[in-house]
């Protein structure tokens, strides 16, 4: 990456920069951190085995809901610890249902599972959150969020006091989760994070969280169990958990334009129906829940804002540049959110249109100081002689 590129690549790169007309900002990064500009979802089903069918159905239902509300597949990391659809015991091969009426096949054509089977481990989960991947891990398996991201983290499985079981062999402890969130905060990987957990004693998993901007919802308090909602007697297993079932029931009434607040989601949980007490941890979250629409986590904004980080010098890796074009194409997507400083952003863009020219000159100057200057000088001289010859020929 750090090797010196041929000159012509630099030139072409600069021209490309001109073409896309992306403003280079001079404002401080802190102003960007306050801005919500994209949404991510990490959906995790941690348990294996046929009798845990409902956990996979829970996760797939959530997956379907966030997709319906506008988060695209490339921004959803879906982790499924087992493949119920292809289990030999499944009465409906290649289909997964979350209701005994079998109206909705959750495992249709458009499901992209990022981590499946034995890939769903505590290690991989923490790597996804903190972004410390092996270089070989493809982009589709990475959580590429930034300081303007709202992230929904949904987890379901078997849990206990301050732990969540992964794959019947390992555990994620509340300390691990809190540490990962802390790292994410340090690395500016999110602006706001909603953690939703459907396990037994889910509330205990949040006890160690300290990072600001984190909101947590759990299906049950300490010492309580989370129960399944109903049994599908054709498939022979429970197909959905109560907490997830009522969460889905809440979202079924919404579309991507609705303004239902988080408070209304919280209020929709009825302890007698859940057979457990839903738990919310709000103390790390600044905004009042009644003013925050649920779509700020479960839906998506597609506002593209280019941060300094993406343009630190021209020696940026070429793959990153590729992504710039895609994001540029999404410039004019409909925005789901009424962000307060949205207009300001437009003004700033208008003001800074002339900036790239300066930047170009500056870079050119920088190039001249470089060792490449030799070649540049040689070419320059050649051109000057050529120009001299032509002008003398023309004048004569």
């Amino acid at each position: 990456m750090a090797t010196r590129d041929p000159v012509m690549t630099h030139w072409s790169r600069m021209f490309l920069l001109f073409l896309v007309l992306v403003p280079l900002t001079s404002s401080s990064p802190s102003s960007w951190a306050t801005m919500h500009n994209n949404n991510w979802a990490v959906l995790v089903c941690t348990s294996r085995f046929w009798f845990n069918y409902r956990h996979m159905a829970n996760t797939l239902s959530l997956y379907r809901t966030v997709k319906r509300l506008g988060i695209p597949d490339e921004r959803i990391i879906l982790m499924l610890a087992d493949d119920m659809a292809c289990n030999a015991r499944n009465n409906y091969p290649a289909q997964v249902f979350n209701n005994e009426n079998h109206q909705l096949n959750l495992y249709g054509d458009n499901v992209e599972v990022d981590y499946r089977g034995y890939e769903v481990t505590v290690e991989n989960f923490l790597r996804v959150l903190t972004g410390r991947h092996d270089p070989a891990v493809p982009r589709s398996k990475r959580l590429l969020s930034d300081e303007g991201s709202h992230i929904l983290l949904y987890m379901t499985g078997h849990g206990g006091d301050e732990f969540l079981k992964f794959q019947d062999s390992e555990e994620l402890q509340s300390h691990d989760l809190a540490d990962a969130v802390r790292q994410m905060k340090e690395k500016s990987r999110f602006k706001e994070l909603l953690i939703m957990v459907d396990t037994c004693q889910a509330a205990t998993l949040f006890s160690q969280l300290q990072s600001p901007g984190v909101l947590a919802i759990g299906s049950s308090m300490k010492g309580e169990n989370s129960y399944s909602h109903h049994l599908d007697s054709n498939i022979g297993v429970s197909v959905v958990d109560r907490f997830t079932f009522y969460t889905l029931a809440f979202f079924e009434k919404l579309n991507m334009y609705s303004n239902a607040s988080l408070r209304s989601l919280f209020n929709s949980y009825n302890p007698s129906l859940l057979m457990s007490t839903a738990y919310y941890r709000m103390d790390l979250y600044q905004r009042p829940s009644s003013e925050v629409p649920v779509t700020s986590f479960f839906g998506s904004v597609m506002k593209t804002v280019h941060t300094d980080a993406a343009y630190t010098g021209v020696s940026m890796p070429s793959e990153m540049e590729g992504s710039l074009f895609i994001e540029d194409g999404e410039h004019h997507r409909i925005m789901l959110e009424n962000e307060p400083n949205q207009e300001n952003l437009g003004n700033e863009e208008a003001k800074e249109v002339h900036c790239p020219y300066h930047a170009w000159l500056k870079t050119l100057q920088g190039r001249l100081d470089d060792t490449v200057a030799d070649i540049l000088l040689r070419y320059g001289f050649g051109t000057m002689i050529l120009l001299l010859a032509i002008s003398s020929w023309l004048s004569s």
């Binding site: 046929w50 030999a88 091969p93």
Partner: protein
């Protein structure tokens, strides 16, 4: 260190303090009589309390989920079962050969699209193989070589491959039928099995293969199932088939059979397999004479050497039978105990006690009604008896030898099976039950391992786990080492310092010179005990020699066995008798008790029930035994009690008498004859029962030694025992 510190005041009387555990041990040994009385009484009470301490069963394995799926077995399948039943009865009435029904089964199995093959086996006789205990795996081919060619059975086996399964595991269904004389109930069980099999060939949820074994039970159902299992688990490769020499007749028979069984499809004489067995269900329909208000299901679970299938298997069958199909579930119980007055009395006492404790603290749950207690005890007694016998209660026992969990389900209808409607309703219930059990086992991901393997049942839904039933046994066994140590140390003190007061004065008069031979004189006693045990081992091997001679009647065999044993014992006495009286009876008793307690502990690992029953007989015998001459020196009243106790226990402790009593309590005294002992012994060794080893290696020598001590010449030498 302490002596150095204490400068001016040496304490000559003070001994260094020994460790606490040593002092505790010494205390126990010093009060050995009290300890043994308390432990024995507590052990007996704890044993009687077992039905009270029984817990309700629960399905422990999450994956099983019994009854979570709707049964798919419908009236359509019942019609199919009925049709199959009619066909069998039509063929059966013809009674052409033994292969007619096999052919019919084969045809139907092929028609539903499953794989089929026939398994030919030869029955094997009850031979005594001294080295075959605990190793049941033998090759049937060797036996075929010995047996005649004309005797053979034919199992029909159908295999459904799970459409999307990995083919690594299988569930086995077994229906035994008598191919030469098939009755209506056997035909019905075949019909039921076939209808379930054809249903399973259509379902989409199979993860394990299904194997249906229609076992030809003309030489006994166990033989049929066992030889199939042996061939299943010991593949015979073509390379060594020649050297085993299966015989020309085998090939001829197969060819002959092929002509008889004109079934479509290839390879129906090739043995096919289907992965490890997750579970096996043996089921049959039995028409009972006494009518009940509901269709009933009897579960048999005991396999060889008291091994039980995993409790979860019984749990799911019980759950589905009771809560889904409304059947009455029964397990074996001792009917003679149900009417016993003393048991009823104990039950009422416990009921009273339960009420009292409830009055004291409502949280204590000891409440058990008298009737419940009596029923629980009768069931527990039968559970212990069949485990102790070490003989399987059905053909499911063959599976346990390969660590496969299996049970036998005996379905009995409420009304006569001739009525079409009743039969259909009965078939529907039975079919749904078995389908439910298969679906539940199909959900398993691993072998049964969650629930208990060591348990007694006191009711179909109540069990006593190993942690509870060990307590009475441990209490019974605890006094043995203590008394042994007490006797040993008492004798030691006697030898070393004669001025010390002996706790048990009396028969110490054997001449001092003999006693003063040092602390190694226990070796003399050990030699005697060892010789008796050696004798017992020879006695246990005698039947192998006897079976080589052409003696036929059990009575002659038994008499020859007994006579030979006594002869050998006398020879042993003549050779080694000189030293047997040198050592003093306390040491002899001490060593004998040590040997008995070691034997009992070992046996409790192999077959707990045998050890439990054995301990109840041996422990009082070992603890009470004293030379009769010594007892004569005591007071009149004590003398009478001691003598009577000793004699009773000595009689009851004799293994044949104990067996007779056990058999009499369980079945009937009338049937038992002299030859029955030989038959029983034959039964035990033909099933490789460790109980046989226990009886002859531990119980018999212990009894002989006790007799020896009873007749011990206290002063001076006298004739041998």
């Amino acid at each position: 260190m302490a002596a150095e510190a204490g400068d001016g005041k040496p304490q000559p009387g003070r001994r260094p303090r020994s460790r606490l555990i040593v002092r505790l041990g010494a205390l126990l040994v010093a009060h050995s009589v009290l300890v043994s009385v308390v432990c024995c009484i507590a052990g007996s009470i704890a044993f009687l309390l077992l039905p009270v301490l029984a817990k309700n069963t629960y399905v422990s394995e999450n994956a099983l989920m019994p009854g979570s799926a709707n049964p798919m077995f419908s009236s359509h399948d019942v019609v199919e079962a009925n049709r199959f039943l009619k066909e069998i009865l039509d063929r059966g009435s013809a009674k052409v050969t033994g292969t007619e029904i096999a052919k019919l089964i084969g045809q139907h199995v092929v028609d539903v699209g499953a794989e089929l093959y026939y398994h030919k086996f030869h029955p094997h006789g009850n031979q005594f193989h001294p080295l075959h205990f605990f190793s049941s795996i033998t090759n049937t081919m060797e036996m075929q070589y010995n047996s005649s060619c004309t005797l053979f059975g034919l199992n029909s086996v159908g295999i459904i491959r799970a459409p999307r399964g990995d083919g690594k595991e299988a569930i086995v269904l077994v229906t035994p039928y008598n191919s030469q004389n098939i009755g209506q109930s056997e035909a019905l069980s075949l019909g039921l099995a076939f209808s379930i099999f054809s249903l399973l060939s259509r379902v989409t949820w199979l993860a394990k293969d299904i194997v249906w074994l229609a076992a030809d039970s003309r030489y006994g159902e166990y033989t049929a199932v066992d030889s199939w299992l042996k061939d299943y688990h010991n593949p015979l490769f073509l390379s060594n088939s020649g050297k085993i020499g299966t015989g020309v007749c085998f090939e001829e028979n197969i060819l002959h059979l092929l002509d008889q069984l004109k079934v479509k499809g290839p390879g129906y004489n090739i043995f096919k397999r289907a992965g490890t067995m997750a579970a096996a269900l043996v089921f049959k329909v039995i028409e009972k004479k006494e009518k009940e208000e509901r269709d009933s299901l009897t579960i048999y679970a005991e396999a060889s050497n008291g091994q039980m299938p995993n409790l979860d298997l019984i749990n799911i069958v019980h759950y589905l039978a009771v809560h889904r199909q409304g059947l009455r579930v029964k397990i074996g119980s001792m009917h003679s105990l149900l009417k016993a007055a003393w048991l009823k009395f104990v039950g009422e006492m416990l009921q009273l006690f339960g009420k009292l404790t409830k009055h004291l603290n409502p949280k204590w749950k000891f409440d058990i009604t008298s009737a419940e207690y009596v029923e629980g005890t009768a069931t527990l007694a039968s559970s212990i008896y069949y485990q102790a016998l070490g003989v399987p209660t059905g053909s499911h026992g063959a599976f346990r030898d390969y660590q496969v969990d299996a049970i036998t389900l005996e379905l009995s209808p409420r009304f006569s099976l001739n009525n079409e409607n009743n039969r259909s309703a009965f078939l529907l219930r039975g079919g749904r039950l078995i389908e439910g059990v298969i679906r539940s086992v199909n959900n398993l991901l691993e072998k049964f391992h969650q629930s208990f393997f060591l348990y007694f049942l006191t009711a179909p839904h109540k069990f006593v786990s190993v942690g509870v039933y060990m307590i009475p046994f441990a209490l019974l066994l605890a006094p043995l080492p203590i008394v042994s140590a007490a006797l040993f140390s008492g004798n030691d003190n006697l030898g070393v310092s004669t001025e010390k007061v002996n706790q048990e004065p009396g028969c110490i008069g054997s001449s001092d010179t003999e006693l003063r031979s040092g602390s190694w004189k226990w070796l003399q006693a050990a030699k005697v005990v060892f010789m008796i045990h050696l004798w017992a081992i020879i006695v246990s091997l005698l039947p192998y020699v006897l079976s080589q001679f052409p003696l036929t009647t059990p009575i002659t065999l038994l008499l020859v066995w007994a006579a030979l044993s006594i002869c050998i014992l006398l020879i042993f006495y003549l050779i080694f008798g000189a030293c047997s009286t040198h050592c003093g009876w306390e040491l002899l008793k001490s060593v004998m008790i040590a040997a008995a307690s070691t034997g009992l502990s070992l046996m409790s690992v192999i077959n707990f029930s045998t050890a439990q029953i054995g301990a109840m007989l041996i422990v009082p015998m070992c603890l009470l035994v004293q030379p009769l001459r010594k007892q004569m020196q005591a007071g009149v009243c004590r003398k009478a009690v001691l003598v009577i106790c000793n004699l009773t226990i000595a009689v009851v402790g004799f293994p044949p008498v104990a067996l007779l009593i056990a058999k009499g309590v369980c079945e009937d005294f009338g049937k038992a004859g002299v030859g029955a002992f030989w038959e029983l012994a034959q039964l035990l060794w033909s099933w490789n029962s460790a109980t046989y080893l226990y009886l002859l290696w531990i119980h018999l020598p212990c009894w002989v030694l006790c007799l020896h001590i009873l007749l011990y010449p206290c002063i001076g030498r006298s004739s041998k025992a």
